[in-house]
């Protein structure tokens, strides 16, 4: 029997989020908290999101749900009904955290907002995830993924200059918000430990997505210059002019990324690449003409740099991504493949680190391979990896076991459509 304690063992979480917020409580669930997902009777809307197991469109077969709700429990409850609201208030007494991602003001309209629930449980950490926050001029704006990216300033930076700005082809804006929400929850928890008081954590997806705009903010801030999108390239403001740095290079069977960069790391990598080219009898006289010592980017002109990039790209185009990566690893070149999802599922490092976990789904008579431990801890390893719950799988445990409902009462609530 495994007796290892878990990081967040003993803490309980109610998860009332929709597809935008589901990842937030996963952070806590992976670390051992008991997370109870509250679904509407009949099943959460996030179960309607694909992809689906073997393309079978079915509320119990959403891979989106599987991935985001693993390690959680499920109960069904209609919180739009009076009876359901009463039950949620009872449950909120028994938990440490509550996550929700409804539009600002909606939970309060059900009398389930922070003000109401903190009256019942003053230690409750109540975490809200919205597009823009609980107050401010955009509070009531709709904020689908692409709109959040646009208003964070990030979208402007992505794409080829001759095409419109372009977003990730998978919604990630709210996942960043989920991470900030889980961090906010834990910060509020530390405050609770000290004071005995819970509080309201107000997460804005727009605000969470500002961080990835990085040095473009700094460039405006201290230079009053707008960074423009440059595809797999980047324009760097250097004393000698604007340097066009290239990140993506086509190779024989796909793409790789190479940094030809400054500093000590850049210098070592650039020299290792040069050495490999020399061994392969590749013509590098163009490198030498630039007179660049390979370290300080201040010591090469933008034109000289473009020349270096040009020579490297010819060398790369003749080789396959696996070969390039193997040599890069061996020689310490800052080059890595642009993996497809298929590539990454076969990545050797991940396999040898034991990153993948096989999770049994009895109902499917199948075992599915999931991404597993995202950190290795000596005292409290992340080793609970359980499949996502079926609709209302834990209704009996929670309603009968915890709230001491009689079978008759539970049956009545089910007839009413509350559970």
């Amino acid at each position: 029997m495994n007796t290892t304690k878990r990081l967040l063992e003993g803490y309980r979480v109610l998860d009332l989020t929709d597809e935008k917020g589901l990842l937030a409580s996963r952070f806590l669930a992976d670390m051992g908290a008991e997370v109870i997902k509250v679904e509407k009777p009949g099943g959460d809307d996030a179960r309607r999101i694909g992809p689906f197991y073997k393309d079978q469109v079915d509320l119990e077969k959403s891979l989106f749900w599987f991935a985001l709700c693993m390690n959680k429990k499920s109960i069904t409850l209609d919180i739009t009904k009076k009876e359901g609201q009463g039950i949620l208030r009872q449950l909120s007494r028994k938990v440490d955290f509550l996550f929700e991602s409804s539009p600002s003001g909606y939970m309060a309209s059900l009398e389930l907002g922070y003000e109401e629930l903190s009256q019942i449980n003053r230690q409750l950490v109540y975490v809200s995830i919205t597009p823009f926050g609980q107050s401010g001029p955009y509070r009531d704006f709709k904020g689908p993924d692409i709109v959040v990216w646009a208003l964070s300033g990030f979208l402007h930076l992505c794409g080829d200059p001759e095409k419109p700005p372009v977003r990730f082809s998978f919604p990630l804006a709210y996942f960043l918000a989920c991470g900030e929400a889980s961090i906010g929850a834990l910060l509020a928890h530390h405050y609770r430990v000290l004071t005995g008081e819970g509080q309201w954590v107000d997460t804005s997806a727009q605000n969470a997505c500002v961080w990835p705009t990085m040095d473009s903010r700094a460039l405006w801030d201290i230079f009053h210059k707008d960074q423009e999108r440059a595809g797999g390239r980047r324009y760097r403001e250097m004393p000698s002019g604007v340097m066009q740095m290239r990140f993506v290079y086509p190779c024989r069977d796909g793409y790789v990324q190479l940094y030809i960069w400054g500093g000590k790391m850049g210098e070592a990598s650039n020299k290792a690449l040069q050495a490999w080219m020399e061994e392969e009898k590749f013509d590098i006289s163009g490198f030498k003409q630039t007179g660049w010592p390979f370290g300080d980017l201040g010591k090469i002109t933008p034109d000289g740099y473009a020349k270096v990039v040009d020579i490297a790209s010819t060398f790369i185009a003749q080789r396959a991504k696996e070969e390039l990566y193997e040599e890069a690893l061996k020689r310490g070149i800052m080059l890595a493949p642009v993996s497809t999802i298929e590539d990454v599922c076969h990545n050797r490092q991940l396999r040898e680190r034991g990153f993948w976990v096989d999770v049994r789904h009895d109902e499917l008579s199948d075992t599915l391979r999931y991404p597993g431990p995202w950190a290795k801890l000596t005292e409290t390893p992340l080793e609970r990896w359980e499949r996502a719950p079926r609709i209302g799988e834990h209704n009996n445990d929670i309603y009968r076991g915890e709230l001491n409902m009689s079978p008759n009462e539970l049956g009545y609530l089910m007839r009413l459509g509350v559970i």
């Binding site: 689908p144 692409i146 709109v147 372009v166 700094a218 405006w220 990324q257 995202w374 801890l377």
Partner: protein, 409 residues
């Protein structure tokens, strides 16, 4: 100080030895420092944080104290200059390990061990320490020694090829995108480890691979390959369930608006917002599946309409019709955005060489506490004397000796 003031600075008294560099590691110290911890960045001009060497530089003049790229994750911290290749400097670092509750490093695997400061050594000095390491691909495994940055991990994880147009080379996200995912898990696990230590008295070692942490944001796509053997790829601005969905031109040059119509009811509202032009009534646009089939024609018609209007006018116009729309903000516009200002998403601090400039806050506001912004990012070694004298209680003579031995640079 009242109890409430104490609680506002809930990490006051918490001691952090921050040997991290670049992005993912230093952000942990930043969040602890924001709430009152004493965080000492241990760094060296002989091996500077790469961000200190990257633009933008104040007045476009390079210098280790002039990069506004470095400053973001490092405000509210102290800086101790310590040349760790020097044995005397390592003795000082070990004293800080004994002092600290939490320490972090983000060098390549094996570097701390080489210096006699790996977890097994640190644990001898300080058995209860929480020690976190983060590097590209983890401390173990055949690719552990890969040298690179977050953008490489964005590539290796599959994120990079998910951004761009299906018929062109991948564009990839701006910047070291895996950093912005990995550092979420990194902060969460350290905050949880602190609570675990409070409850049990036990510290521990945390090895976070930035590649692994990043991949959890692609969970559904990884399952899709593992189960259905399909490998998701970029599709421009199209969306699985929304149509129209994309970025459309507005009046002027390089002004764009993002629009997402998530269901047929919103489509009706959208048409109304356009003033119901005849083409919107065409049956081929009536339902989601038919709009999806005719998406490129639809996008073209919408673009012809949107390009007549100002982007900000359109955002308010669509939002008043309950259609999700947002201006694609340039950095200058995001800087002035009224909603981000309302949070606030940034604060201004005065840096020793850069002068007053902006620092980002995180995505969360709290009803009962606020982060404390007491100081811009430090100059390299700005607090060397303070740390040696006030924290480690070294005498002036000892400090002078270290300096003479060139350990403090």
């Amino acid at each position: 100080m009242t109890k409430q003031d104490d609680a506002r600075m809930m990490f006051s008294g918490l001691k952090v030895a921050d040997l991290c560099w670049v992005g993912v590691g230093p952000i942990v110290g930043r969040i602890l420092a924001d709430f009152g911890a004493t965080v000492i960045r241990i760094e060296s001009s002989t091996r500077p944080d790469p961000l200190r060497t990257m633009p933008p530089f104040k007045d476009n003049i390079p210098g280790l104290n002039r990069s506004a790229f470095y400053t973001g994750p490092n405000c509210n911290k102290r800086s101790l200059a310590l040349n760790l290749s020097h044995p005397k400097a390592r003795e000082v670092a070990k004293k800080l390990i004994a002092w600290a509750d939490v320490m972090g490093e983000s060098f390549g695997p094996g570097v701390m061990e080489k210096w006699g400061m790996g977890y097994s050594e640190a644990k001898k000095i300080n058995p209860e320490i929480i020690y976190y390491s983060t590097c590209m691909q983890g401390q173990t495994g055949p690719h552990k020694n890969f040298r690179g940055f977050g953008l490489h991990m964005a590539g290796l994880s599959g994120l990079y090829q998910l951004l761009g147009w299906p018929d062109r080379e991948p564009v990839g996200p701006y910047g070291a995108f895996s950093d912005f995912i990995a550092w979420l898990w990194m902060r969460a696990v350290v905050l949880a480890a602190l609570d675990y230590k409070r409850r049990t008295g036990k510290g521990q070692y945390i090895d976070l691979s930035q590649l692994e942490a990043t991949m959890h944001f692609l969970g559904p796509l990884l399952l899709e390959y593992n189960v259905n053997r399909r490998s998701a790829s970029r599709m421009g601005n199209a969306d699985q369930y929304s149509c129209p969905h994309g970025v459309f031109p507005c009046l002027g040059k390089e002004n764009w608006i993002a629009i997402a119509v998530e269901n047929d009811d919103e489509w009706m509202s959208f048409c109304k917002a356009l003033g119901n032009p005849v083409w919107t009534q065409d049956p081929k646009f009536a339902t989601f599946p038919s709009r999806k089939v005719n998406e490129s024609e639809l996008n073209k018609l919408i673009g012809e309409w949107t390009r007549q209007y100002d982007a900000f006018y359109l955002m308010n116009h669509f939002q008043s019709h309950r259609v999700g729309a947002g201006v694609v903000l340039k950095p200058s516009q995001a800087h002035e955005d009224p909603q981000l200002a309302h949070r606030p998403a940034r604060v201004t601090l005065v840096h020793g060489e850069i002068g007053p400039h902006s620092y980002s806050t995180t995505g969360t506001n709290f009803s009962k506490m606020s982060p404390r912004f007491w100081r811009a990012a430090p100059l390299l070694g700005e607090d060397t004397h303070w740390v040696l004298n006030e924290v480690l209680k070294l005498s002036e003579k000892e400090i002078a000796n270290l300096k003479a031995a060139e350990a403090l640079k």
